[in-house]
Symmetry: C2
Subunit: 151 residues, 2 copies
């Protein structure tokens, strides 16, 4: 007795998550690119360095959910653009110590409010109750699906 709900892509959760997320990410990425010549991956690296000074590349990868290859490449571009400075860690010469440069901070301080504004615009479609549920639901799914991912 296996009567199935028909598989209707529009109502299939993974599909909806994927399309919604890609649409949102795309809009943000375009804005960063146009206004700051910055990719999403570069921005994510800058965002965590703005928040946690002096991380190593591995720590950046853990905090951005990016793999180390992507981080390495994003850092190469950011350092080339003198938005990030890299030192070698005293205690371990394999590790780098990363921080935003003065120039990087200027970019960061312009983008951070724009990013938050974008988030507000997205959340503006929801009322207070819905926002609370969304936050709780994402927490739960995040925990359940990603417990192994972030460290």
């Amino acid at each position: 007795m296996s009567e199935h709900r028909p598989l209707d892509l529009e109502h299939f959760l993974p599909y909806r998550l994927s399309v919604l997320s890609n649409t949102v990410s795309r809009a943000i990425a375009d804005m960063y690119q146009r206004r700051f010549a910055l990719s999403i991956t570069e921005w994510r690296v800058m965002a965590v360095l703005g928040r946690y000074d002096g991380l190593s590349a591995r720590e950046v990868a853990a905090r951005t959910a990016m793999d180390k290859v992507a981080v390495s490449r994003a850092l190469a571009r950011l350092i080339e653009a003198t938005r990030v400075e890299r030192l070698v860690a005293d205690h371990d010469k394999r590790q780098s110590v990363l921080r935003l440069s003065a120039k990087g901070w200027k970019v960061y301080e312009q983008i951070a409010p724009l990013a938050l504004e974008h988030e507000r615009r997205l959340l503006a479609h929801l009322d207070g109750e819905e926002r609370e549920w969304l936050s709780r639901i994402l927490d739960k799914l995040w925990q359940a699906e990603l417990k192994e991912l972030v460290r």
Copy 2:
């Protein structure tokens, strides 16, 4: 007086959506790949053809939120694998008329329950109330963000 909430990537909605969605999609993609040598894009094409017989490539693109290049390539592989058949539309020789082959249907009928099972597993982390809110919230955001996208 612009005192900002700090930009903490872990609490930033677009970032959370993106990481969660990529993690879920990745897990599903791996399964399709391993068990059926099928990419996510190919599966999406098969899914809409299983539901709506005889679509053109353009209609498939609209229903999967994929661009026409991606659809064209997915179709080339599916036709090569004889999972999809393509005819030329009578009324317009530019258009194709696409349908799953018998072989395609067999694959479809194996995957569809697996996909739904995967969705159930994901939703198992939420209680009934949370599921209802999630569905309503995704509908709202979908409507708001994608009104231009899907026709």
